[in-house]
């Protein structure tokens, strides 16, 4: 295994471009589904170590106002996991957003988190997959820290990988108190293949 994965400036730009286009499409689809304008940040792309990712997840254990949901995907040699971090998000607003009219108990709140993740992340990854001509299988979303503390679930010291390609996107929804960060994490061994796909796209 290579000690450091290097993502050249060129590939980073290409990936940035692909993600921008995907996010534009995603925003359009989400607006139609949710009847609200979705404000997306410009995707931020970085190579991160397990410790960096553990740090990002740390907030879920330590703050009652942060919730996290993860969802895995795989296809054609590219695999990864999306993690959505909800910061100080109001559950009543999420319910309003997804037109959920039942009583909000703890299970319903978790379902809202999972549904929101599926919708936000699905819209985004679909746009990327279309451009690089791939299809992915999705696992069901899982609420993090529900059964186990995250520091037990993911220990960066025991990770078998050194780097991952992380795309970070911030979502805000107009008129709703919903603010979340999507971390799209691609495994180390997916990066080469992704670069090849990006080569096809731009030559």
């Amino acid at each position: 295994m290579s000690a450091t994965v290097h993502l050249s400036e060129d590939y980073r730009d290409r990936l940035q471009e692909v993600t921008n286009v995907a996010m534009g499409q995603a925003a359009d689809r989400l607006a139609r589904l949710l009847d609200t304008f979705v404000v997306l940040s410009i995707p931020h792309i970085e190579i991160l170590s397990p410790a960096d990712i553990a740090m990002a997840l740390h907030s879920i254990d330590n703050s009652a106002s942060v919730s996290g949901v993860c969802q895995g995907f795989i296809g054609g040699g590219i695999a990864g996991e999306a993690i959505l971090l909800f910061n100080d998000t109001s559950f009543t607003d999420l319910a309003r957003l997804l037109k959920y009219d039942g009583y909000l108990d703890h299970d319903a709140e978790r379902e809202l988190l999972m549904d929101t993740t599926n919708v936000l992340f699905g819209a985004c990854l679909r746009g990327i997959a279309e451009q690089i001509d791939m299809t992915f299988s999705f696992g069901p979303p899982m609420v993090l820290g529900q059964h186990q503390r995250l520091d037990e679930l993911f220990n960066p010291k025991e990770a078998t990988w050194q780097q991952a390609l992380v795309t970070e996107i911030n979502y805000k929804l107009e008129g709703y108190n919903v603010n979340c960060d999507l971390l799209l994490i691609l495994t180390e061994d997916s990066i080469d293949l992704l670069c090849k796909k990006l080569d096809y796209l731009l030559t």
């Binding site: 689809r29 989400l30 139609r32 589904l33 997804l98 037109k99 959920y100 009219d101 039942g102 299970d107 319903a108 978790r110 379902e111 999972m114 549904d115 599926n118 919708v119 699905g122 819209a123 679909r126 999705f138 069901p140 979303p141 899982m142 059964h147």
Partner: protein
């Protein structure tokens, strides 16, 4: 792949066989929620044949399906061209089917995960949706049993086996917590120490099982007579403690008096005997003079000592 019609039919036939026999539920719905495919798994578990369900609206067939929720899910699938999921932890099932093992299975219904997939036509439009129903009963039961076992272990590690009151480790934690809370907010808080009078005599006259009965009865009266926010624990032997939050010494005296009279009025039948017994109680309200939790216990213990010296069967406040 060959394109001869005969081969195609042949291939189609065994593909359908796979769909029909796979041990996963497959349902295809059109956008009007009419059933278009209903595989063997669904037929067998619902006891409804394809002929009964095809082209019928799913909500007419299964009125228990939460319609608003289900439509909302499927709308996301059609608009986003994106799969949606439900898991048993949020909704135990979509279709109420029997557990696969009606005899030895621990669940009365099948726990299900469900994936909802968009199906596109030749023009790329989504006009059908596929539901995949997974039987996850085994996983669900294992997880539920694990949760139950953990809850039981937690309970066991916190309580005293004989009385079911909090054990010493646990109520001492509460005591420390209340002490800290007092230092910060100065809310009134009192501690009662309670001791069964002449307990050694009960053991000597009737035996240790009778003594255990008396201890159990005392614990039961404590549990009944306290508010939810009060903490009752076993100190050890025939001694008990009660932490009364938001209660000053006078209030604690009322509680102590109530416990004392109830215990005095109760009797424990044992073999051919009726055992009557009484308790003595010492009360200590937290004051700034009490410098740590141990001193708080000592203060209540002094009240208890005074109650014993004054003739037992009474509650005495020790003022610091």
């Amino acid at each position: 792949m060959t394109s001869s019609p005969k081969d195609f039919l042949h291939e189609f036939h065994w593909l359908m066989d796979v769909l029909h026999n796979i041990d996963v539920g497959l349902v295809v719905l059109d956008l009007h929620m009419h059933v278009k495919l209903w595989n063997g798994f669904m037929q067998n578990h619902s006891a409804r044949s394809s002929a009964e369900v095809l082209d019928v609206c799913i909500f007419d067939l299964f009125p228990e399906l939460p319609e608003a929720w289900f439509r909302r899910k499927l709308q996301a699938v059609t608009v986003l061209h994106n799969a949606a999921f439900t898991t048993w932890e949020q909704r135990p099932y979509l279709f109420r089917f029997k557990n696969y093992r009606p005899v030895t299975g621990a669940a009365e219904f099948m726990y299900q995960n469900c994936t909802m997939l968009p199906l596109t036509d030749a023009t790329g439009e989504v006009n059908h949706i596929c539901l995949i129903i997974y039987d996850v009963t085994e996983v669900a039961i294992n997880r539920l049993q694990l949760q139950q076992a953990n809850a039981q272990l937690r309970h066991i590690s916190r309580t005293d086996g004989l009385t079911g009151l909090l054990n010493r480790k646990t109520w001492e934690q509460s005591l420390r917590l209340e002490f800290k809370r007092f230092q910060r907010y100065h809310h009134a808080c009192s501690l009662i120490m309670l001791d069964i009078d002449h307990f050694k005599d009960i053991n000597d006259s009737y035996g240790h099982t009778a003594g255990d009965e008396v201890i159990r009865r005392t614990a039961a009266i404590l549990k009944e007579g306290l508010r939810e926010s009060d903490v009752a624990g076993r100190y050890g032997g025939e001694e008990f403690v009660v932490i009364l939050v938001d209660t000053d010494a006078a209030g604690a005296q009322v509680v102590a008096e109530r416990l004392r009279t109830r215990i005095e009025a109760s009797s424990v039948p044992y073999e051919q005997h009726i055992i009557n017994f009484t308790v003595s109680l010492g009360i200590a309200e937290l004051t700034p003079k009490i410098s740590d939790p141990t001193m708080w216990i000592d203060t209540a213990d002094r009240g208890l000592y005074n109650a014993k010296r004054a003739g037992r069967n009474q509650a005495i406040i020790y003022h610091t």
